[in-house]
């Protein structure tokens, strides 16, 4: 009986259990703010990382690129801010078409108990006064993203937290 219980289901964290959420960003048309707009070859790299966030199951480097309207990016669970480069038209042969913005999200964290198997999860709350700081790279170029915080409490992945107009 005890040997059975040691390898029972409730010792393994079910993949469907909502745990640490990612930041959900949706892209909208800056000319018509209610219409979702597809990005073109967007690549997101965390500061200090060499590889981008994986957006699809492709086996080549195109797994770092997305052409959708929505992305999910993991925040840092051990720090109160995380910085990313958002690279539009990444890899384009014409370097002048590549737009890069560096964005730092500032937040507070809370560790919430989930279960024996899953342990804890971290939920985030974007700072009300300075939820993010944004610079263009290089700074001489205009920023390509117009960022708006839709939901400052990041507790699950079922809702959009950030809306980006471009």
């Amino acid at each position: 009986m005890f040997s059975i219980s040691s390898c029972e289901k409730d010792d393994i964290c079910d993949a469907n259990t909502p745990t640490t959420p990612r930041l959900i960003i949706e892209f909208y048309d800056i000319n018509n703010s209610t219409i979702l707009k597809n990005v073109t070859n967007l690549k997101v790299i965390g500061k200090g990382k060499t590889e981008g966030i994986i957006f699809n199951t492709s086996t080549t480097d195109s797994k770092y690129l997305t052409n959708g309207t929505k992305i999910s990016i993991p925040l840092k669970t051990d720090m109160d801010s995380a910085t990313y480069q958002f690279i539009l038209n990444s890899g384009n042969a014409n370097a002048s078409l590549i737009d890069t913005d560096e964005v730092t999200f500032n937040y507070t964290r809370k560790d919430i108990f989930v279960s024996r198997a899953c342990g804890f999860k971290t939920v985030f709350s974007l700072n009300l006064t300075n939820p993010y700081t944004q610079t263009a790279v290089p700074a001489t170029k205009p920023k390509w993203m117009y960022i708006s915080v839709d939901k400052s409490n990041i507790e699950n992945e079922n809702e959009t937290h950030i809306k980006v107009y471009f």
Partner: protein, 271 residues
């Protein structure tokens, strides 16, 4: 887990019913055996051998007395576990009092200090518990035997506290790297829980008044005061908790019987 426990629970219950029934079915063949024996004896030699056998039987029946008293002892499993398991310290005192021929008042009193190491959490539960109820002995003893095969019920209650020693953050997208477990030390005190136990037990007299026993227990939580932002992962006396209300346990006891008085055994009508 809930389902498997339920299954084990009902299976043990079924087994315990078999135990009780087994006694009844065994008793009938013995009477037929006796008849067979008597039949053979009457056929064989003659008067001389038959008479002494009959008189000796009529002598022993009125002599049979049942002893009543208190049995006290300790759970050897909990006591010895501390020697080989550094995450456990505990003691459980057990006792029962014979009320009638088959019914015993029974109780357990214990204290546990257990550190549970799960893959993402390490926590320590400390506390005291008491269980009280009764045992029903379904075993029909021969002559002066005093063995017990019992089924019983207990109400259990525990007051305890828990400490979260360390934990891990579950992050299904570890882009920034998997983080090591975080030391905590957060204490959750003033916790209580109550439960019902179904006990299947066995006690065998080894010498004079010393008994060794084993019992299996299936528990159902009645109430469980949970801390904020944590969970009672181990309840002293109840043991590990599962997703549902079910739990399980066992003990391995050595007890000493203190006889208080004797009562004549009322013989059952077998013949």
């Amino acid at each position: 887990m809930k389902h498997t426990l339920k299954y084990i629970f009902s299976f043990c219950f079924l087994m315990s019913l078999f135990l009780v029934q087994a006694q009844k079915t065994v008793s009938t063949p013995t009477t037929t055996d006796q008849n067979k024996l008597e039949g053979k004896i009457t056929e064989a030699p003659k008067q001389d051998l038959v008479k002494p056998a009959v008189t000796s039987v009529s002598d022993t029946i009125p002599v049979k007395m049942n002893r009543y008293g208190v049995r006290v002892g300790v759970d050897l499993y909990k006591l010895t576990r501390g020697f080989y398991d550094s995450n456990y310290k505990g003691v459980e005192l057990v006792g029962d009092y014979r009320l009638t021929k088959n019914y015993y008042l029974a109780a357990e009193l214990g204290n546990e200090n257990k550190t549970t190491v799960d893959s993402r959490l390490t926590s320590t539960a400390k506390g005291t518990y008491i269980k009280a109820g009764f045992d029903y002995n379904g075993y029909e003893n021969w002559l002066n035997m005093e063995n017990i095969i019992s089924i019983g019920l207990r109400y259990g209650m525990s007051t305890f506290n828990q400490q979260l020693d360390s934990f891990k953050i579950y992050n299904p997208n570890p882009y920034w790297g998997e983080l090591p477990s975080i030391p905590s030390g957060e204490k959750y005190s003033g916790l209580t829980a109550g439960w019902i136990e179904v006990v299947a037990g066995l006690k065998v007299k080894v010498i004079n008044n010393i008994f060794v026993g084993f019992s299996l227990r299936m528990n159902t939580l009645l109430f469980n005061k949970q801390p904020d932002n944590f969970e009672n992962l181990y309840i002293p006396g109840f043991n590990r908790t599962y997703a549902g209300n079910f739990g399980a346990g066992f003990n391995y006891t050595v007890t000493y019987f203190v006889p208080l008085y004797k009562k004549k055994a009322i013989p059952k009508k077998n013949n």
